[in-house]
């Protein structure tokens, strides 16, 4: 028998590395799910993860098995079998990935639709002070079709987000005040209109599984519904200058009554 020291080292190192990944994944795969989008996202993630693990482990095993089983024994000067092609096999491994990929594509489209990504971004329904009715709004996520309750959508809370180097400002048009932290009531759909003052930034709340670039000169729309009270980080995810790493804020999800208190305290208009 060949002393397969190299194989053993290879195997051990690979399994260590893969094992490490495995453990890391199992301790905490994704952050807390705190918006109505998050469970939908996590469902997609699990599907992709399972498909990915099967594929990766399969390919990995096939390579390692080949290296061990078909290694050259000492003294063996022969060639391998001159197998050049196998049409049925090749058709099989063309068709199966094509079907899997098609499934994944359609499935993720469905997920995206459920998140509200395919909804028309009709921002004028959300009570913004729109500067011109011809204004083009680019991209973002519309109101989630999860909320079939039209009343709830109509009542979505408008917030105007301004990003600048290196901070986010949140303006509440209904109360006509500006806050450095985003306060939102739990269970309420928030509809944000975002624009940047200088360079491109991105609004990202990992616990909500949403991200949208905040672009100068082009407003973008982002809708979400928080489902859990708590304080979650808002992170800028687009390189925006030296202090990019420090450009953070907090979204505070509160019970509606606490939110209302906060709102009334800050509001500059008399709420009827």
């Amino acid at each position: 028998m060949l002393k397969p020291s190299a194989i053993i080292t290879l195997l051990v190192s690979i399994s260590l590395a893969v094992g490490g990944v495995w453990i890391i994944y199992n301790i905490n795969l994704l952050p807390e799910a705190a918006s109505s989008n998050a469970p939908v996202y996590d469902e997609l993630f699990r599907v992709l993860f399972v498909i990915g693990v099967i594929l990766f482990v399969g390919m990995f095993a096939a390579v390692v098995y080949s290296l061990i089983e078909f290694r050259r024994r000492p003294g063996d000067q022969e060639d391998g079998l001159p197998v050049k092609e196998n049409l049925p096999l090749e058709i099989f491994w063309t068709a199966v990935p094509a079907i899997v990929v098609l499934f994944v594509g359609l499935y993720s489209y469905d997920i995206y639709d459920r998140m509200g990504g395919m909804q028309p971004l009709d921002h004028q329904n959300h009570g913004y002070s729109v500067s011109s009715s011809e204004e083009k709004v680019w991209g973002g996520i519309g109101t989630s079709s999860n909320n079939s309750n039209m009343d709830l959508q109509m009542q979505s809370l408008p917030v105007e987000v301004t990003a600048m180097q290196f901070a986010f400002l949140f303006r509440y048009p209904k109360g006509d005040f500006i806050s450095g932290e985003l306060h939102v009531p739990v269970g309420q759909t928030i509809s944000m209109r975002m624009e940047s003052n200088d360079v491109i930034h991105a609004f990202w709340v990992p616990e909500f599984r949403i991200k949208q670039d905040v672009i100068p000169g082009q407003p973008t729309i982002l809708n979400f519904t928080p489902t859990k009270p708590g304080r979650f980080p808002i992170i800028c995810a687009e390189l925006c200058g030296p202090y990019h790493g420090g450009m953070r804020s907090t979204v505070v999800v509160e019970e509606p009554e606490i939110y209302q208190d906060w709102f009334n305290k800050n509001s500059n208009t008399i709420v009827s």
């Binding site: 990944v21 290296l67 991200k211 995810a237």
Partner: protein
């Protein structure tokens, strides 16, 4: 029309060309010298880029920005990306191995345009030195290798302009190289050699060169517009002057997504050469391999906007680019299954070359899987511009292309120098690289999913341990360079003499002395119609056995 051109244009100035070691510093027209020039020059830049990567990983061992000033950190990450892409991987997988191998594979004595070839190489060192020197002049570019406006317009102009100039030079070099490869592969084939008899690397280089010729000029045009914005204060991409920042992203990614294939398709080709030789089996599924390369070239040109799912893109565009991107997995998958089938049932010599090639397969499969995941809009929205993406593309370009570069160096070093590399040290190099690489980048998937954006110098303290783990992996990767360097330098003096064909390979570069003569072959160029014809003897023996049984 045929006119008289000497087969080896450097004959005419033979007296002027320096001999021996010095020729690597000359304007040599020999494709083999140019190939080595690309390789060594690229490797030197790799060391610079690696040092920058180490600086980034040192900064990230602590959650606060304490190792270097914040603007320097941004310069470092910009230089790291630009150097690794434009000065290491693209020149080496295309220029170095392409120039050295393609003339052999097509049975020619040089490239189609030797002079253009030398010009293409000699654009690289000044461009690279200019890029690096910008750091010492007034600070290098700070806007990442993507140079998204308006950030690239508002950061200090000097560094950004130097960055644009050097990328333009490197793009020009790449285009000249691409034209040369297309002409060499299509026009310079030895009489009697058909396209479908070429080694797979030729097909990979043909596909790559098509991508280079079609997409690089768009980047050049875009960067020219960007430089106008910086210097002449036009407003193409400046929103305060009515410009549109998204148009830049579309144009940029029209080049920079194909750039990924410019970096990995040649690697696919090189692996297709290495695997059959060391497993003594024909390359499995040659025809489907060729078609899948061309499918990747076509699809690679129409998927760029998947880098912009969180920018302002309309929903229909997101849907189209999701589906198109996902389908790249099909031809890519075919290639991976074919490689495993090539290994299957072979007689595999477990040397450093095959270890690095198999490391490539494993790493790239993981990178491909995360790539398909990233193509899905809803998935991408969460992890876009995070460390998940950083992990993904390092699995593609480092775990993919760089592993193949090392594999190729172990495989072709005997041909380049006439001496073998030390196998033991090669294996140590592989283990250090493989473990270090996975330790460095696998945890970054988790970091990205849990809230660490890319290109930051400071982060949430909860990520400290995983970042330190990743930095430790980076340390192993840095250390892995040492045995490799020692091996390459020591073996060039003391290595075992390789002889003409140490691997008993059938491809034409092995059918001549090591290193090859200036004219590639002393006699006629051999006509190799079946570069993967391993195992013919076995087939013959089986047939004989069958015959004798019948009698």
């Amino acid at each position: 029309m045929t006119i008289t051109i000497p087969p080896k244009s450097n004959k005419e100035s033979e007296g002027l060309q320096p001999k021996g070691f010095l020729r690597y510093f000359s304007f040599s027209l020999d494709h083999k010298v140019i190939g080595i020039q690309y390789l060594v020059c690229g490797f030197l830049f790799y060391l610079v880029g690696g040092a920058l990567a180490s600086a980034i990983r040192i900064e990230l061992t602590s959650p606060i920005s304490d190792f270097m000033p914040r603007d320097v950190y941004n310069q470092v990450l910009t230089l790291h990306g630009t150097i690794m892409i434009f000065l290491w991987i693209v020149p080496v997988v295309n220029g170095a191995f392409g120039n050295y191998l393609i003339p052999f594979y097509v049975g020619a004595r040089d490239m189609a345009f030797p002079r253009l070839n030398a010009v293409a190489f000699w654009l690289i060192p000044p461009a690279g030195l200019m890029l690096i020197s910008s750091y010492f002049i007034n600070g290098a570019a700070q806007s990442g290798w993507t140079a998204y406006p308006p950030l690239s317009i508002t950061t200090p102009a000097a560094g950004q302009i130097i960055w644009i100039l050097s990328v333009l030079l490197l793009g020009g070099s790449s285009i000249f190289g691409g034209i040369n490869f297309i002409a060499t592969i299509l026009k310079l084939r030895r009489p009697g050699l058909k396209l479908m008899q070429l080694p797979m690397y030729c097909w990979a280089m043909l596909g790559t060169s098509i991508l280079v010729v079609l997409s690089t000029p768009v980047l050049a045009g875009t960067l020219i517009l960007l430089s106008f914005d910086i210097v002449a204060h036009t407003g193409f991409f400046n929103p305060t002057l009515g410009g549109n920042v998204i148009v830049y992203q579309h144009l940029f990614w029209f080049y920079s997504h194909p750039a990924v294939y410019i970096m990995v398709l040649p690697a696919f080709g090189l692996v297709s050469e290495i695997l059959p030789i060391h497993s003594r089996k024909p390359l499995f599924g040659y025809t489907t391999m060729v078609y899948s390369i061309m499918a990747i070239v076509f699809l690679g040109l129409i998927v760029w906007a998947h880098h912009m799912f969180t920018s302002g893109t309309p929903p229909w565009m997101r849907l189209f680019f999701t589906i198109a991107t996902s389908f790249i997995a099909v031809p890519t998958g075919i290639k991976f299954f074919n490689w495993v089938a090539t290994l299957w049932g072979g007689k595999i010599s477990l040397n450093s070359a095959i270890l690095f090639s198999c490391g490539f397969i494993v790493n790239f499969v993981l990178g491909g899987i995360t790539g398909v995941a990233l193509a899905q809009v809803p998935f991408d929205i969460h992890v876009h511009d995070t460390y998940f993406v950083v992990a993904h593309f390092h699995y593609i370009v480092y775990g993919g292309s760089v592993f193949v570069i090392f594999s190729s160096i172990y495989h072709w070093y005997p041909k380049f120098t006439g001496r073998m590399l030390n196998e033991k040290i090669g294996r140590i190099h592989f283990i250090l690289t493989f473990v270090g690489f996975n330790l460095c980048f696998a945890p970054q998937h988790w970091l990205g999913m849990n809230g660490m954006p890319r290109r930051v110098a400071e982060y949430d303290p909860q990520f400290t341990f995983v970042n330190q783990l990743s930095s430790f992996g980076a340390l192993l990767m840095a250390l892995s360079t040492l045995p490799f360097l020692w091996n390459v330098i020591h073996s060039s003096f003391k290595g075992e003499i390789a002889g003409e064909n140490p691997w008993q390979a059938l491809t034409p570069e092995w059918l001549t002395s090591s290193p090859p003569p200036v004219e590639n072959w002393l006699g006629e160029a051999p006509l190799v119609t079946d570069p993967y014809g391993y195992g013919k003897k076995q087939l013959q023996e089986q047939f004989n056995d069958l015959e004798s049984e019948k009698q």
